[in-house]
């Protein structure tokens, strides 16, 4: 930077200003500086800038996993908004483990990230404490709670689970089973399923817990196991589309007509849900929008705009198709 300054015949501060706040520098000066930058091939050291200004322009995202998961859309949406604003995304994967999350948060704090996106509302006491003490902009995502660490962008998994179950009840299904993972969000959906059945004074069908992250094969095995019950369920609500697609494939193999013998419902609304034969009844959620809104909230908080609403509910929709 010193070389650039010398070549342009100005001081380093002016170079800095020309790069960061161009309109605070006279056009002629700016032009000379830009020419010098080109000539030398100067690449500013953002590390040094971050240290001096105490703003890293890096935001971290902590998700359970991105491989074949809906969280990849959230990360993608977030990344796009951040990049557009000159910020970069540091990615961390927790593998659904709170202690891994805690360790990653500590590292990210050390890197002085300007904000953090967290998945879900379940975090270790220490994670919450660390983040609140530092008053770092934080967005929790993919669920709602009245007491977030800072801000939250998501929808109510419990209500969505309840709504889908009500939909199945209204369609006339009388023995509705549930199958899902052991993670927070699946458990909330399961709780919603139970609540809806109780509200309708219906007897809950069997409930099954499968491994997280979800695999197609797990859905296949789950439907087999559920159908062994006597009497078998006439509908199964899966906590995500991956499992539901696995179940649909298994029903096809077994020769169980869907939804006549057993109805299948999913959650997420992946592209395959609408394309499948039969098309999958599911809950549509906006994974990409969550990432985009979360990025906007963080950027607003970083800019010190204090009037950022605490909760953004992106909602959900029951999508009735052929499978239920």
């Amino acid at each position: 930077m010193e070389d650039v300054a010398r070549l342009a015949g100005v001081s380093m501060v002016t170079v800095s200003r020309a790069l960061n706040t161009p309109d605070k520098v006279a056009p002629a000066t700016r032009a000379r500086i830009e020419a010098a930058v080109q000539r030398i091939g100067y690449v500013p050291n953002l590390l040094a800038g971050s240290l001096a200004s105490n703003r890293s322009r890096i935001v971290a995202a902590l998700v359970p996993t991105i491989a074949n998961s809906i969280f990849s859309e959230t990360v993608e949406g977030m990344s796009e908004v951040l990049t557009r604003h000159g910020y970069q995304l540091l990615l961390g994967q927790t593998g659904y483990d709170e202690s891994v999350e805690e360790a990653l948060v500590a590292t990210f704090l050390g890197r002085r990230v300007d904000g953090i996106l967290l998945t879900g509302i379940g975090h270790s006491r220490d994670t919450r404490l660390q983040l609140m003490r530092r008053r770092l902009p934080v967005v929790e995502t993919w669920d709602l709670t009245p007491s977030p660490i800072d801000r939250i962008v998501g929808f109510s998994n419990r209500e969505a689970g309840e709504a889908m179950t009500r939909h199945l009840i209204e369609r006339g299904y009388r023995r509705i089973a549930f199958a899902g993972g052991a993670d927070e969000r699946s458990e909330s959906r399961r709780a919603g399923w139970l609540a809806a059945l109780e509200a309708a004074s219906a007897v809950p069908g069997p409930s099954l817990t499968v491994a997280t992250p979800s695999r197609v094969a797990a859905g296949r095995e789950a439907i087999d196991e559920l159908m062994r019950h006597d009497p078998p369920p006439d509908a199964v609500f899966f906590s995500n589309d991956v499992l539901a697609i696995g179940a649909l494939l298994q029903c096809e193999r077994r020769g169980w007509p869907v939804p006549r013998q057993v109805a299948i419902a999913g959650f997420t609304d992946t592209e395959l849900a609408s394309e499948f034969n039969p098309s999958l009844t599911t809950v549509h959620v906006r994974g990409r929008a969550i990432g985009e809104r979360a990025a906007e909230v963080l950027l607003a908080r970083i800019d010190g705009r204090g009037n950022v609403q605490t909760t953004i509910d992106v909602g959900y929709e029951i999508v009735a198709r052929d499978s239920a």
Copy 2:
């Protein structure tokens, strides 16, 4: 850090050493320092450390997209290895656009990342130049070339395309079509398809280019369009499983028995490929392994181990199933 040093009765240098190279500090001193760190709740500023040591312990990954794509596995594999070694992953998405890639590379260079993972071997002249000039550890992935920027981890898309086409020829298919995106890797697979047909003195079936990134719906539409040819193909090789699954779904709707009326082959070997009815004949590739090997190569290069091999070929496998 000064507070920690004072509390432990040592100098800042010793605190720094206790944190970074614990075995260079006397056990008793180290214990006192660790206690002080705990007591104060000291979180080292890695930004400052990076600036002073000129090593950021950050590695960047540039992929076209991570949403519903095989690259998410590469990123996940890489992230795991990096985290295990105390490095963090900065994520950038190029959207299959070389100029976006170039801009992101420039930013990452400014952040003084210690290494970069690039997807594919097609990069702008400027991207290559910038990276080579800085002698930054770089790994290109998902393909092979005799002249990488630095190192490369992947497999030959062209050979894999050729191998699958040979497989189809051996199975007795005579009019083999191809459908795939316009990205580098799809085009290499398409070139392999053409080469295999020419080597067998066979007449190529129709070739179709669809939008990138691939969607199930595009596979559905592609098979419809290809089957309108007269005579229609007796086999279609899709450049990835997403398209192939779309085609299988459409064949089911149309009542076209697979593979009797038309055989379908994919590429990637996603979980759905083995689970589908009929199961999908495809090319198995190791997306996660690419990410893991790439991370290892970068870490070795960063540590100055010069004896890192230029090329790592992770190979591919033809997986013959029911659809072709």
